[in-house]
């Protein structure tokens, strides 16, 4: 993974000192809250319901054991002993003090981490496939490009005061695990007929109150032109994106207003003017950064490991974990392990400092010191030798991290909701907990198969409900929490918007409704057909009848 050079260190350290000065000026009254707010946001510091919240960047979801241990240390020393991993592959702390935040940022800088641009109307942390560089279905590892974009977008002189936040996602695989079509800019690494690397470029995706799936504005952008083309897209947006209405300020609204073809034309026109200026990285820089992401030296091993098979025969939970929480690595005899942060009855995405320490130790011992965070709020040990799985699972299980539900119904994305968030209208976490309890039977979950439930506590859609096979949206109805049920969304390469099925429910009603939806699926499915495929085949009506007619 990437390692800072002296320039990166100097910039991040200077940023810490800058923020320390900004905090001092705010406390002394030299900066008003109105002025300080965007500055603290650009350092990841929000004010939530109960306290400040610090969002620390985990660039493209990749970190090492030392960094994870630092995250655990921060949870213990400055917070209440836990952190929350997010759909942006970041981590949030829920209780930091403003006065201590500069110290936290310095501790992060010491391990080559930061909270830069994890909030604010600027280019946010670039996200990617949690299995980047570790699966066979990949054209190229997208992380070097994510790092190049990270550097280019950091403290950008022109694009740090955009109309609204701006999110870029990149994938290099056939299967889209990064939800690129739901981002302001989505990039898909491709090879052209000549075997050269480039990108399909999509713009204008986003969730919020107006869900839009991104549209392709360029089928193939040569690798070397990446940054100048991004600059052209951003310039058009910065100049013309709406600033009069926060809810219409995202690029998706501008792309819709201009039309994707016109957006592409304006981008192209601007790009032609700048593409030969030294905006793009030189080949040497691309090579320098790619070298950091060279594949680890894994030995080719046998995929046939008797000890694993034996444990799987004896222990149903291990067998289920093997099936759901591991996937094939590009090097034979290896897998990637998904550590589920979705214990039944627990808080999706939360991990204690002790759990973080354990995962860091496992990474050092079994996964080349490397860790990933998935946008589905789980942790990943990449590059694991299959023979090590029984030992890893035993350690995880003892720490409450051996839950075999990755990709299943209880692997739920949930935003923090009204339990923490000052924007929320309803709670999200308790629904995830209730669903975990209602479906707390791994044989049943296994039978139901892959099913993504995503829960948001308000229309801002941080819980990705628009992209859920089953989406749940919390609203405030006359002071009471009310939950709408949506079906048929997808965040993958077959991206689709979930549709509202009918009137909303109270907290118990929505859990019953999910159970009825699942029952319809089990009744209607054809051999081997997953939930989303069945829904798309049979349509909403049969679900609607089952959910509402009995009421």
């Amino acid at each position: 993974m990437y390692a800072y050079d002296k320039y990166d260190h100097a910039l991040v350290n200077a940023r810490v000192e800058e923020f320390r000065d900004q905090v001092n000026r705010r406390v002394k009254g030299e900066l008003t809250e109105e002025e300080f707010r965007p500055l603290r946001l650009m350092n990841g510091l929000y004010l939530q319901l109960h306290a400040y919240m610090l969002r620390v960047a985990v660039p493209y979801g990749t970190l090492n054991g030392t960094q994870m241990r630092k995250l655990a240390h921060i949870a213990r020393k400055y917070d209440k002993g836990y952190g929350h991993f997010t759909t942006r592959q970041n981590i949030q702390y829920n209780w930091p003090k403003l006065s201590e935040t500069p110290d936290i940022l310095q501790e992060l800088a010491d391990v080559e981490m930061h909270a830069i641009q994890t909030s604010g109307n600027c280019i946010r942390n670039v996200t990617t496939d949690q299995f980047a560089g570790a699966t066979a279905d990949e054209v190229a590892d997208p992380r070097p490009y994510a790092e190049l974009i990270r550097q280019w977008s950091t403290f950008h002189p022109e694009f740090s005061f955009l109309p609204r936040k701006f999110k870029i996602a990149i994938t290099g695989a056939d299967i889209d695990r990064a939800a690129v079509k739901w981002h302001d800019i989505g990039l898909v690494v491709k090879k052209n007929d000549a075997g050269e690397i480039g990108f399909e470029v999509l713009v204008g995706g986003g969730m919020g109150r107006t869900p839009v799936i991104a549209k392709t504005i360029r089928d193939f952008l040569p690798e070397k032109d990446l940054l100048s083309y991004l600059e052209a897209i951003l310039r058009v947006y910065n100049e013309q994106g709406r600033r009069d209405n926060k809810y219409k300020a995202r690029i998706k609204i501008l792309v819709d207003a201009l039309g994707a073809d016109e957006y592409a034309r304006q981008t192209e026109e601007e790009w032609q003017k700048i593409k030969d200026q030294p905006i793009d990285f030189p080949a040497e820089e691309a090579a320098r950064i790619k070298a950091y992401f060279a594949p680890p030296p894994l030995q080719v091993l046998s995929d046939d490991v008797p000890a694993v098979d034996e444990l799987a025969k004896k222990n149903f939970l291990f067998a289920a974990w093997l099936q759901n929480n591991t996937n094939q690595h590009k090097v034979p005899g290896h897998v990637n392990v998904t550590i589920s942060l979705k214990p039944h009855g627990g808080i999706p995405g939360d991990a204690t400092a002790e759990q973080m320490d354990l995962v860091a130790a496992l990474a050092d011992e079994y996964s080349q010191g490397e860790l990933r965070i998935s946008h589905e709020q789980n942790l990943i040990l990449p590059h694991v030798a299959k023979k090590d799985l029984p030992a890893i699972w035993t350690d995880l299980d003892e720490a409450g991290l051996g839950i075999p539900n990755a990709g299943l119904l209880t692997d739920i994305i949930a935003c923090p909701g009204l339990d923490y968030c000052s924007l929320a209208n309803a709670r999200s976490i308790p629904l995830a907990q209730q669903l975990g309890k209602r479906f707390d039977d791994f044989k049943r979950l296994q039978d139901i198969g892959p099913l993504k439930i995503k829960i948001s506590g308000c229309i801002n859609s941080c819980g990705h409900h628009h992209a859920g096979h089953i989406g749940i949206l919390g609203v405030d109805r006359k002071g009471e929490e009310n939950y709408q049920l949506l079906l048929g969304g997808s965040g993958a390469e077959d991206a689709s918007k979930a549709a509202i099925l009918g009137p909303g429910f109270d907290e118990n009603g929505i859990i019953d409704a999910v159970e009825k939806v699942v029952a319809v699926y089990l009744g209607e499915r054809e051999e081997g057909e997953e939930f989303l495929a069945t829904y798309r085949r049979v349509g909403p009506q049969v679900f609607k009848e089952a959910v509402y007619d009995a009421r």
Binding site: L11, R25, P157, E158, P278, E284
Partner: protein, 169 residues
């Protein structure tokens, strides 16, 4: 107000021309763009150095016909978060080749000093008590990840400067 000079340019000394006034002969005046586009050649003959006061929503293309007549430009930010002002300065330098002074006015904050400089601004008008903070903010960072239109090349290039020079020679 204090004028903070970001680039060391010879900063202009001008006053804002009131709506219903004509410029005095030879006077340096700043005039809203909306009025300038209506003024004929006589206006520019009478006045001394003329500058355009731009709102951040100005389309840079509207400035093209005035380029050889303007001595300076003032970009008036309605709010510090209105990032269009940064793109406008970039357009002036990059697309219009404007070499004169670009001044920022309005509620910009000290922490934007380097952003303003790197987008192409020369000067910024600030409240007196904030001048020191602006100057301090200019010194916060000394290398950057982006090539900008003020001659700064990105770290991506600077890291390989020796290699690039070798190739060039």
């Amino acid at each position: 107000m204090t004028l903070v000079n970001l680039t060391g340019i010879q900063a202009g000394d001008f006053s804002l021309l009131a709506d219903d006034h004509s410029p005095e002969e030879g006077a340096a005046v700043a005039v809203p763009l909306s009025r300038l586009t209506d003024e004929g050649d006589d206006f520019f003959k009478v006045a001394g150095p003329v500058g355009a006061v731009l709102t951040t929503d100005t389309n840079h293309a509207d400035l093209a016909p005035l380029m050889n007549k303007l001595a300076f430009v003032v970009v008036d930010f309605p709010a510090f978060g209105d990032g269009r002002g940064f793109s406008l300065a970039v357009r002036l330098r990059k697309d219009l080749g404007f070499k004169g002074e670009i001044r920022a006015t309005g509620p910009v904050i000290p922490d934007q000093a380097l952003f303003l400089l790197r987008a192409g601004f020369d000067t910024v008008e600030v409240a007196d008590e904030r001048a020191e903070a602006f100057k301090a903010a200019l010194k916060r960072f000394d290398s950057f990840y982006q090539t900008d239109y003020t001659g700064q090349v990105s770290l991506a290039h600077a890291r390989h400067k020796a290699t690039e020079e070798r190739k060039a020679s």
